[in-house]
Amino acid sequence: MEKQSKSYFIHLAHQLRFDLGDKEAQDITDEFNILIDQMDLLNKIDTQGVEPMVYPFEEPTSFMREDVVNHVLSALEALKNAPSSKNGFFVTKKVVL
């Protein structure tokens, strides 16, 4: 892991669809340096041949849901939280491709 610049993190934030203030970007840069140090604690550990652990318990399940319709919201409920809606649709300003 290498150090990264403030502008790098601002760019990264934009990919995550939010903005960073200048001070905040600086904070992240500083915290990132701490993480780099902490990652050293991790890198000390030999993980050769160790599989990543994704789930706390790894025995596979066999359960799959039956293909039945059991729960649908009314359009009213579906749109209830929508900041903007029209004619049953969620509405946003133009999506730029």
Partner: protein, 475 residues
């Protein structure tokens, strides 16, 4: 310079399930917007995915038909990107462990038989539908979460014709499996076609373009052909092909640039923590194989063994709904060729594709079968059959129509012989003319007989009986 065309296809196919891939909301095409969703499909905070078993069954069926190796440990991953039609901000897909790999599909074109290898087949969920209305985007989440399989071929396709043949055959197979309704115009089958050209006998791939949004099988050939023409013109002129996504415009009859491909996006795939690996029992997979519906090739073979000609076979097999109709019709039918003629003729003319698919017609197949059998036995004439048929379409029974129309033929030989006697006795001149070799005499006599029977005499039988009797009366 001569160029070789290199084509690979990715197909997204909506599965014909009752409920969504990861939720119990209904899958319905053409419903009112946002009426087929629940909190899971809308990506509400706190929701979790619950996998639909039938979607897995359908994916496995597709794998089997495409000769894929099946991974019995089903695993899902997240594909992360932000877009208005993607409610969770990630799509649940199978990036690292697709359920099917290493398959193939053999296609036949005028280039001969060709094997198209399938790189992978994986399960994922569909996105919402957006409509761009002036300065706004309207979003309907009914489609969000619909189960999909994505099928990716190797770059084995070499012409527009092959591309079309591949999709056509694949589509028909999937329809036969009842995995999908396969409607390109409704978007339940969508293909992205990657096309590039390279100098013949070279290995390196040229720059490719991707064509999206093709809405019919026939447009595949047109779209690919025009893109090949466009690319070769560029290369011939010493220009470069730009890596881009294009779409086929039906009116312009050409592909049109949608967007340039910039550096590839990092989707930050990682294993979906909310879906543990699912172990499929081998016995369960085996049972799916046993229960696999008849596929188009097998059906064609069966029709061939029934004695149908190649034209009929092709017409029937191409249209599963019609072919299914035909299969019911021929249970107990006396003349299969006649049944095929009626299926591909009158039935196809009278019933819409939708009616056939949904079996939403009043016609009772058993009554049609009765009529075809009567026709085959020459109890009725084909002219009469055409009179009867519209009533059968309305759901009436054959017997009822025949009685009420008073159209049934007289085939009883003793009655017909009686009539023959009468007609000959009344037309002695015609007997002489007949033996003098005047062909028209027989026709005249048959006509007289039909008249006497009020049109109900079986014409073929009557004519035969007349001939026999005429020979008896040779002067």
């Amino acid at each position: 310079m001569k160029y070789e065309v290199v084509i690979g296809i990715e197909i997204h196919c909506e599965l014909k399930t009752k409920s969504k891939m990861f939720s119990g909301a209904p899958v319905v095409y053409g419903a009112q917007p946002n009426t087929c969703v629940n909190e899971i499909d809308l990506g509400h905070p706190g929701t979790l995915p619950s996998l639909n078993k039938e979607a897995v069954v359908k994916a496995i069926q597709a794998c089997m038909a495409l000769h894929c190796e099946i991974d019995p440990l089903v695993r899902f991953d997240r594909k992360n990107y932000y877009y208005a039609d993607l409610p969770k901000g990630f799509q649940i897909t199978q990036q690292f462990h697709p359920i099917g790999t290493h398959g193939y599909l053999d296609i036949e074109t005028s280039d001969g038989l060709q094997r198209i290898r399938i790189n992978r087949l994986h399960m994922e969920e569909d996105t919402a539908k957006q409509y761009h209305v002036e300065e706004e985007s309207w979003i309907d989440f009914n489609r969000a979460g619909t189960p999909l399989i994505e099928i990716v071929t190797e770059a084995d396709i070499r012409s527009a014709k092959q591309a079309m043949a591949f999709v056509d055959k694949l589509r028909n197979i999937l329809v036969y499996l009842d995995v999908t309704d396969g409607k390109m115009e409704e978007g339940s089958l969508r293909c992205d076609i990657n096309i590039s050209l390279r100098p013949e006998n070279t290995d390196a791939y040229g720059t490719k373009t991707e064509i999206k949004n093709i809405n019919s099988i026939s447009n595949i050939e047109k779209a690919v052909a025009s893109e090949i023409t466009r690319q070769s013109a560029l290369l011939e002129a010493g220009e470069e092909v730009q890596q881009a996504t294009r779409r086929y415009d039906d009116v312009a009859k050409d592909t049109i640039m949608m967007r340039l491909k910039e550096g590839s996006v990092d989707y930050k795939y990682f294993p979906e923590p909310n879906i543990p690996p699912i172990q499929l029992a081998q016995s369960w997979i085996d049972q799916i194989k046993v229960d696999l519906p008849e596929l188009p090739d097998a059906r064609a073979q069966r029709y061939s063994s029934l004695g149908l000609n190649e034209y009929d076979i092709k017409q029937l097999v191409q249209n599963k709904a019609l072919s299914d109709f035909f299969d019911i019709l021929i249970i107990g039918v006396k003349n299969i060729k006649l049944a095929a003629n009626w299926s591909c003729g009158e039935i196809l003319g009278a019933l819409s594709q939708k009616q056939l698919e949904q079996k939403s017609y009043a016609l009772k197949i058993s009554e049609l079968r009765a009529m075809i059998n009567a026709l085959s036995d020459q109890i009725i004439s084909s002219k009469q059959a055409k009179e009867i048929f519209p009533y059968l379409l309305k759901g009436e029974s054959y017997d009822h129509v025949v009685t009420s129309l008073d159209v049934s033929q007289v085939s009883d030989e003793s009655i017909l012989k009686q009539l023959v006697e009468e007609v000959l006795n009344e037309n002695s001149q015609s007997i002489i003319d007949y033996h003098a070799g005047k062909d028209r005499a027989l026709g005249f006599l048959v006509g007289q007989l039909m008249k006497k029977s009020k049109g109900q005499a079986n014409p073929a039988l009557s004519s035969a009986l007349l001939k026999t009797e005429l020979d008896h009366r040779k002067p």
